[in-house]
């Protein structure tokens, strides 16, 4: 308990130190267009919070980016599982996934703008970024399932449902959790980047774009802070849900098995 509170204090002190560095940097530069201090950013956030547009933008962007993430998560899981069962499908999907992983987000965004317009751009972009990550980790997780346990399951004629629940899911969850940690952050980064390029109405990306146009760095910092908070909350929620799928002690980091 004492160790925990010492650790928390340590973290708080480290954050305070970096805020001080930020304040000193803004004071040294002394130009609110290049960099604003923490107090100006907080003031900008304070002025944004009461407005309806602020909440509309958050709900709209959160809804679209999380929908893109969840759809890609479901598709990656389904395709990864199918690829594990059918090697032909895995071979067929391999070049597609490699392509999705290597194409720059900006190219995707411009193509998607042409194909789908700006309204649902962030759903598509967040999804395309997340899909290959979840697919690859689903395959890796299923391949890491303990072969000796699978032999045991075969000898005892365990049903497919029991094999999935007791052998495959515990093997898969650590891989999904570590890929989700990266994919969730990436979905927000790419989703907001897509909004900045597509500038859909009532979106966080639109607000960031406007901050750029009006050289309003304080608003830019305030919106960036909002994105970090929403992304962190969403990540915690998804990881908590995933960890509920295995009993305590059942999840190990990839490579433990």
């Amino acid at each position: 308990m004492k160790k925990n509170s010492a650790g928390t204090w340590r973290k708080v002190l480290i954050i305070c130190l970096w805020i001080m560095v930020w304040q000193l940097a803004s004071a040294a530069v002394d130009n609110p267009i290049i960099i604003v201090g923490p107090w100006e950013a907080v003031k900008a956030l304070g002025s944004l919070i009461p407005s309806l547009e602020f909440w509309q933008s958050i709900i709209s962007s959160f809804g679209k980016i999380s929908a893109g993430f969840l759809m890609a998560f479901a598709a990656g899981l389904a395709l990864g599982s199918a690829g594990y069962c059918f090697p032909v499908l895995r071979e067929l999907l391999e070049p597609v996934m490699t392509l999705l992983k290597s194409i720059p987000v900006a190219s995707f965004v411009i193509l998607a703008l042409i194909w789908a317009g700006s309204k649902n751009l962030s759903i598509l972009i967040a999804g395309l970024v997340v899909l290959p990550m979840i697919y690859v980790n689903t395959l890796a997780g299923l391949n890491s399932a303990d072969k000796k346990l699978l032999e045991m399951a075969g000898v005892f004629s365990m049903t497919l449902w029991k094999k999935v629940r007791y052998i495959y899911v515990p093997a898969l969850i650590p891989y999904l959790m570590s890929s989700c940690k990266i994919a969730l952050g990436m979905s927000w980064k790419s989703g907001v980047a897509a909004e900045v390029i597509g500038v859909p109405d009532h979106s966080i990306g639109e607000k960031l774009y406007m901050s750029k146009i009006y050289l309003n760095t304080a608003d830019l910092f305030a919106w960036t802070f909002v994105i970090i908070v929403i992304s962190a909350l969403f990540e915690r929620m998804v990881l908590k849900l995933l960890s509920c799928l295995v009993p305590k002690g059942g999840a190990h980091e990839p490579g433990d098995m």
Partner: protein, 195 residues
Amino acid sequence: MSLEICNLRKSFGDLKVLKGISLILEEGKIYCLMSPSGSGKTTLFRILLGLEQADEGEIKGIQGKRFGAVFQEDRLCEAYSPLDNVMMTADRCVTRKEAQRELCRLLPKESVTRPVYTLSGGMKRRTAICRALLASWDILIMDEPFTGLDDGTRQEVIHYIHEKTAGKLVLLSTHQMEDVEALGAKLITLQESSQ
């Protein structure tokens, strides 16, 4: 109905593990396989369980038979309790309550619902034995089932195996002559069974 193993051969590369094993195993009897380590006991068991293919030979009377097994390693789902592990493979007619009662005969009551990774090696072994005995099987294969058990526990487990396998075919491997006597089993050695 008996199980007849005829001239079974298996090699891994240049290493000849089974050199023409022939055995007749009768239903309702317990057979103890005693041979030095590395003589092919586990390979024979794996072939019987359908986990390896023999290079040559034939096994008669195996079609349609259900197997139960205690593997050389415990092969338990570590994050789940002994009760969950038993219920994963238990016969459909075995209820959770019955499984719990059976486990309590071999394990301390408080350990039955704890995750397996918190149990001692001996407790895990007894869980693996209980899991095999409560599954539905016609032939039971046990690869060194008494490893890690002290003398007192070993006697309890032998008594339990006796009770649960009555009238069925059991093939197990051990290194202790006392186990053969306590089980009232027929002793077989792989050297004698090889042609």
